[in-house]
Amino acid sequence: MIIVKIILIVLIALSLLLLAYSNKLKNIGKLVSIFLFIIGSFFIIFPNLSDSVASFFGIGRGVDLILYISTTVLLLLVAILYSRERIVNNQITILVRNKTIQNAKKL
């Protein structure tokens, strides 16, 4: 059990630290990542505590609470990534279009 806990903590530490120290996130995002790391590690070390937090919110088990939060966060991330992708696509379109027009050929 202790090994699983260590692996989990190392994994979330790596992924969140990677996020926190990449240039993609603004300061607030970095703080949120560090906060998520602390909360995540805390629940991994003391899983029973998540049950009490969950029951405070009227949810049966701590695992359920974590599942709900993760799903919501994941969906939110997908939506953010999707809108970023649209912005990048628009920029690519403009680049390709400008170059196409510059290279227009009269046959």
Partner: protein, 227 residues
């Protein structure tokens, strides 16, 4: 004497028909400026296009979609100071002889856009499912934009491109819906004219798959919520 009309033809993998199409188009509309926009075809289309003469050839380095190809052609036509742009499919669905009616209508009524309607004109070999879906899309367009058309998703049109508001931002297939939304948003004046749409094995294979309607609806939905 050259006219003030650009004919914008988006092309994506049309090697079997592209030569015949442009030869016919040039013969039918010798005074118009023909702008072929090759949307990064992966077959021999690009090579065949390069051997043609009397047209402008624009080549996207990446495949961006039909809407993006049309917009590229329109932006280029503006640099040539042309007033009108005809959009027509290169798969042989539309008949270039009918461009004359589009031209006469837009000039006579001095409107911003003239849309082709296969339901006012003719459809040859259209499947029943296609007909039902097109009718549904007409109804859907009417609900969302309040604009009552007899055919909302027809690629055959003539547009007054001196109106700088007219810009297609939907790269893929939902540009047809976007054009109708533009009519509503900018209060563009429009007319419909009858046109013929031919369905054969080639055009059905090249054209919109009926199942693609889900993708189009999703595109429209995301466009609505993110704009």
């Amino acid at each position: 004497m050259s006219s003030d009309i650009a004919i914008v033809v988006p092309i994506y993998n049309e090697e079997h028909i592209v030569k015949e199409f442009f030869t016919n188009l040039k013969k039918t509309r010798p005074n118009d400026t023909i702008i072929a926009v090759d949307d990064a075809s992966t077959d021999a289309s690009s090579k065949i296009l390069n051997d043609l003469s009397g047209i402008y050839l624009l080549t996207h380095e990446l495949n961006l979609g039909q809407g993006a190809a049309l917009q590229t052609g329109i932006v280029f036509a503006r640099t040539l100071n042309l007033k009108y742009a005809v959009t027509i499919d290169s798969d042989g669905q539309h008949n270039p002889n009918e461009i004359e009616l589009f031209e006469k209508t837009i000039k006579k009524y001095n409107c911003d856009i003239v849309l082709g309607s296969r339901f006012l004109g003719n459809t040859i070999n259209m499947s029943k499912t296609k007909r039902i879906l097109l009718k549904l899309s007409i109804f859907f367009t009417m609900l969302t934009t309040g604009i009552k058309l007899t055919d909302s998703h027809n690629g055959f049109r003539i547009i007054d491109i001196s109106n700088q508001n007219f810009n297609i931002t939907q790269n893929r297939m939902s540009h047809a819906s976007e054009i109708i939304e533009m009519i509503q948003k900018y209060n563009l004046t429009y007319k419909e004219v009858p046109c013929t749409v031919v369905y054969n094995d080639y055009t059905v294979q090249k054209g919109q798959k009926v199942s693609n309607i889900i993708n189009i609806l999703l595109e429209i939905f995301f466009n609505r919520i993110s704009s």
